[in-house]
């Protein structure tokens, strides 16, 4: 019987030979070992490469060549976590998002920047640097001073007879109701209620406007009392969709989608928590906007006057397994130089403008931009940046990603009507309490 035939030596040898030959054959496909140039660094960010002339200048000045890789933000976070968990090199410099500082700092996945850069000297010129510190170490250096701002389509407000911009939440709400009542637009307010990070940050900003914070110094929730700012902010947001101020379809609209398809098209009149820089990079761009010249930043309406703008800046740091930390630090110093950041934002023409870049994280960079008049709403943004505050004054907790997931899924459910605001807030509070207790 054939079944009974034992495996012969020749069969075994042939099988092994074939397997090895295949492997060897394909070994030639392996990328050649990277030329061991000590001055080539790998930079991985969720952004397209810097303008080639600027990178060339950096290389000429320092002898360091930058190999730039672009990934989308979510994939990049996966990659950072995978590489750190596997204790493996993947980049010399990469993204440090404000919301991950606690996690990255606790796990020591990044090298302390104060060892490589004079962070104390930077602090005065870089208001958001504090958001990147954890346990006495600076995890990353902010390079794009993204913070949350209120944008208003003044033309639509004017059609409703509103020429004086609101300075308090009550005035703001009344104005939105007037815009709706006069039929200027059916739904005047953009709130992205899709279960995504943008909904969480919107709530943080609104909570700040109502005069409060999300968590205390120990990470305990400050929003569970109905009289608290966080509770009122959630109720205000959910009430806005229930009273027809927010388009019902926004239940499934994410932040950038709402900005691009509603605000930039004049279908809504205001976004309470918009991205700083969106006026220049989106609403003033004719190819993507039908409201050119109409949308302006206004000081964030608060409970009794202007509220602080909460920051959600992007930073850059050096992973613990970086091959060239010194060279990476030189790059980061150059990358976060005030003049260079001003150039990224368009101070010296399109050849030196970095696509998708919003706003320098250094006041000196903004001063250059303002002097040249090359940033729309620059003076307003500069004053907002000076007073911008961290979402979590003690730094984002290490368990932030899980907390944020609870925030957006529960607020989404409340807006969709499957939960009451009270139940949603209780659920978020329970998650925060549990996580902060280390359970």
């Amino acid at each position: 019987m054939l079944d009974a035939i034992k495996v012969s030596k020749s069969t075994k040898s042939a099988a092994i030979a074939l397997t090895v030959a295949s492997a060897l054959g394909f070994a030639t496909l392996a990328a050649p070992a990277k030329a061991a140039s000590p001055v080539t660094i790998s930079v991985v960010l969720a952004a397209p490469p810097l303008p080639a002339p600027m990178l060339a200048e950096f290389t000429k000045a320092t002898g360091i060549t930058v190999k730039w890789t672009q990934l989308d933000w979510d994939s990049l976070q996966t990659k950072i976590a995978a590489a750190a968990t596997a204790n493996t090199f993947f980049a010399d410099a990469t993204d440090v998002d404000w919301s991950r500082v606690g996690q990255l700092g606790k796990l020591n996945w990044f090298l302390p920047m104060e060892k490589y850069v004079d962070t104390k000297a930077l602090a005065a010129d870089m208001p958001q640097l504090g958001s990147f510190s954890k346990n006495g170490h600076v995890v990353g250096i902010p390079y794009d001073a993204s913070f949350m701002v209120t944008t208003v389509n003044k033309a639509l407000f004017a059609k409703a007879g509103i020429t004086k911009m609101p300075t308090t939440i009550d005035e703001y709400t009344a104005d939105l109701k007037a815009v709706k009542a006069k039929g200027v637009v059916q739904y005047p307010l953009n709130i992205p209620f899709a279960a995504a990070e943008g909904l969480s940050t919107y709530w943080y900003e609104t909570t700040g406007a109502f005069g409060g914070h999300i968590l205390d110094a120990n990470g305990k929730p400050l929003f569970t009392d109905p009289a608290s700012a966080g509770y009122k902010a959630a109720a205000w947001m959910v009430n806005a969709v229930k009273t027809g101020l927010v388009p019902p379809g926004n239940i499934n609209v994410a932040d950038s989608q709402g900005q691009q398809t509603l605000m930039a098209k004049g279908k809504v009149a205001s976004t309470f928590s918009d991205y700083s820089g969106n006026v220049g990079s989106l609403y003033e761009v004719p190819a993507s906007s039908s409201v050119v010249g109409q949308v302006k930043y206004i000081p964030t309406p608060g409970l009794k006057g202007t509220a602080a703008n909460l920051g959600n800046p992007d930073g850059i740091g050096i992973p613990a397994k970086a091959k060239n930390p010194e060279a990476a630090a030189k790059f980061i110093s150059w990358f976060t130089d005030g003049k260079n950041m001003a150039d990224f934002a368009g101070a010296s023409g399109t050849a030196r403008t970095w696509v998708g870049y919003f706003f320098p994280s250094r006041l000196s960079g903004i001063a250059i931009l303002n002097k040249k008049g090359s940033i729309i709403g620059g003076d307003v943004l500069a004053s907002m940046l000076k007073t911008s505050a961290a979402v979590f004054p003690q730094g984002a907790p290490a368990w932030y990603p899980e907390f944020s997931g609870a925030v957006y899924s529960n607020l989404h459910a409340a807006a969709a009507g499957t939960k009451t605001v009270d139940a949603a807030i209780k659920a978020i509070g329970a998650v925060a309490t549990k996580l902060s207790s280390g359970k």
């Binding site: 495996v7 012969s8 069969t11 074939l18 492997a23 952004a47 490469p49 990659k79 950038s256 190819a287």
Partner: protein, 278 residues
């Protein structure tokens, strides 16, 4: 009762087709529109002024984006074709051994191979990454290909095992009686007979490899090895999402497996039901 049954069937088929194809149609529709058009209300069921601008923006020119798309297209072909070839080669040998040879622990090893299909991808991601880093295969074609092979080999082996088991042993015995060695029997008799199953296994493996995202995301550090699936995701901006460009990249990434699936669906179906009926 027959017409009623037929009506239900048609409705069911129509529903499933709509469920699957409408999103794909919408992506194709979006890829031929401008950014301004895709946010019009009501949405356009057909491109109002069809444009190839998005395709040109991705494929033509010497910019960084075009270079990335072209390079990643080459990468994905190299990785998928290589992984398919190695997987099918090794799976054929393994399936033949499991189907025809008698050795200690045969059933146990077959069970172990099949069992690995039950492991969620994420559980092997970090160990695989560590192993590849240890042997300096991170960011190499070989590293990515070997990961694909390890992932697809169990299913390929199972499909071919099922098929080879169903082949009449008498033909192979006749070959042995005529003096053919075991490898000659395998090469000259079994492989030609198993060609339909090998073809279907190759198609299935290629399609699986093409759809990979998380492994190449982690194992490829830069554009020298990143496949198209990773680059498509990378086009997404941090604050502003270029929907029309993203849709176009999606159509490009979808086109190759779609064409292959349309041309070879007969093989795919036969491969998946191989050995299910004896």
């Amino acid at each position: 009762m027959q017409p009623r049954k037929s009506g239900f069937r048609r409705f069911g088929v129509g529903f499933i087709l709509s469920w699957s194809l409408i999103p794909i149609y919408w992506v194709i529709n979006t890829s031929f529109q401008t950014d301004a058009q895709i946010s019009d209300t009501p949405s356009h069921l057909f491109p109002p002024t069809p444009t190839l601008a998005n395709y040109k923006a991705l494929l033509i020119g010497d910019g960084e984006l075009q270079h990335m798309v072209r390079r990643s297209t080459i990468n994905i072909f190299i990785e998928c074709i290589s992984a398919t070839f190695i997987t099918v080669t090794l799976a054929s040998l393994a399936a033949y051994a499991f189907a025809r040879m008698e050795f200690k622990g045969r059933k146990f090893f077959l069970f172990m191979v099949v069992m690995t299909m039950a492991f969620p991808t994420y559980t092997t991601l970090i160990p695989m990454y560590k192993i590849m880093a240890m042997v300096h295969l991170v960011n190499t074609y070989l590293g990515i290909i070997l990961c694909y092979v390890s992932g697809f080999l169990p299913l390929a082996t199972w499909i071919l095992f099922s098929y080879m088991q169903s082949l009449p042993a008498a033909i192979e015995e006749a070959g042995s009686v005529d003096g053919a060695s075991r490898m000659q029997v395998f090469r000259l008799i079994v492989l030609p007979l198993a060609m339909p199953a090998i073809a279907s296994t190759a198609v299935i493996t290629f399609l699986f490899a093409w759809a990979q995202f998380i492994f190449p995301l982690v194992l490829a550090s830069d554009e020298s090895t990143q496949p198209l699936t990773v680059i498509v995701a990378a086009i997404q901006g941090r604050h502003v999402v270029p929907y029309s460009l993203l849709s176009t990249a999606g159509v490009i990434a979808l086109s190759v497996p779609a064409v292959i699936a349309l041309l070879t669906n007969r093989f795919i179906v036969s491969g998946l039901i191989n050995g299910s009926v004896k």
